[in-house]
């Protein structure tokens, strides 16, 4: 059952990513990224990260992608045109990305047995749920980083307002 889940949603994520690469219009790329994120949420759930699956849907495909789509529509971005720079990037980009992928998958496949297997619900096993574990760690051991993040968000809000403001 887990293998079927992995094949369906992993394939969906891969199809979305390839569609992102091949579409010319930014709005199509943004919507394919939503597909990728939703299928990744299912994969997170199957890896025993229920909290992250919910956060992925709410934060990533909810908040961040709405911001992207909003900006694309605000700037009325059209289809991108091919230029000289894009031909140079094709020559270097495709083989480079393929080489990185081959290197990574060679390492993962050669260490395949050491990496072990994944089964649904086999993450913690001792009747501790995922959200309790995450929040216990986040609010005791990692309290300072958590509070620093809120300052980061505050600074980001101020920065966004200052940068996007109309010049007088």
């Amino acid at each position: 059952m887990q293998l079927a889940l992995f094949i369906i949603f992993g394939g969906l994520a891969l199809a979305g990513a390839l569609n992102l690469l091949f579409q010319r219009h930014p709005i199509n790329s943004a919507l394919s990224l939503v597909v990728v994120m939703m299928s990744l949420a299912v994969l997170y759930w199957s890896l025993g990260a229920e909290f992250l699956a919910a956060a992925q849907v709410i934060v990533y495909s909810g908040a961040i992608m709405v911001l992207f789509v909003f900006v694309i529509m605000l700037l009325n971005a059209g289809e991108e045109e091919k230029t000289h720079g894009s031909r140079a990037a094709y020559g270097a980009g495709i083989p480079g990305a393929a080489a990185i992928f081959c290197l990574l998958s060679f390492v993962f496949l050669s260490e395949r047995d050491a990496l072990g297997k994944v089964s649904v619900g086999g993450f913690l096993g001792n009747a501790v749920d995922n959200i309790a574990e995450v929040s216990a760690t986040l609010f005791t051991k990692l309290l300072l980083p958590f509070e620093v993040t809120s300052i980061l968000i505050l600074v980001a809000i101020l920065g966004a307002v200052v940068l996007a403001r109309k010049e007088q």
Binding site: L18, A55, V118
Partner: protein, 100 residues
């Protein structure tokens, strides 16, 4: 039962497609979208390794990556809006103020 290596290979695929899109695309918004795709690929790696080691720290790391990505998206899109306002284009080949 799925080998953890399959999840890691899927993450590597997403990351490499993100790199390819980052290099090929000429629209600054699409380049930004491919950065998000790369972040998602890395997040999947973190969650898979958290599962493998039965540790929660990998998931906490993904949580922080999400927060930083949200902040980055807000600031980056504001920069894109101000670029568009001054130069009237989203094509990265035409945004070459520091080149000329």
């Amino acid at each position: 039962m799925v080998p953890t290596a399959y999840y890691l290979i899927l993450a590597a695929m997403l990351f490499s497609i993100g790199i390819g899109a980052f290099l090929i695309k000429r629209n600054v918004i699409t380049i930004f979208i491919s950065i998000e795709l790369m972040l998602n690929g890395v997040n999947l790696t973190f969650v898979a390794f958290a599962q493998m080691w039965h540790q929660i720290s990998g998931q906490i790391f993904v949580f922080f990556v999400m927060v930083v990505a949200a902040a980055e998206a807000a600031v980056g899109l504001a920069i894109i809006i101000s670029i568009f306002r001054t130069r009237q284009t989203l094509n990265v080949d035409e945004i070459d103020l520091m080149n000329s």
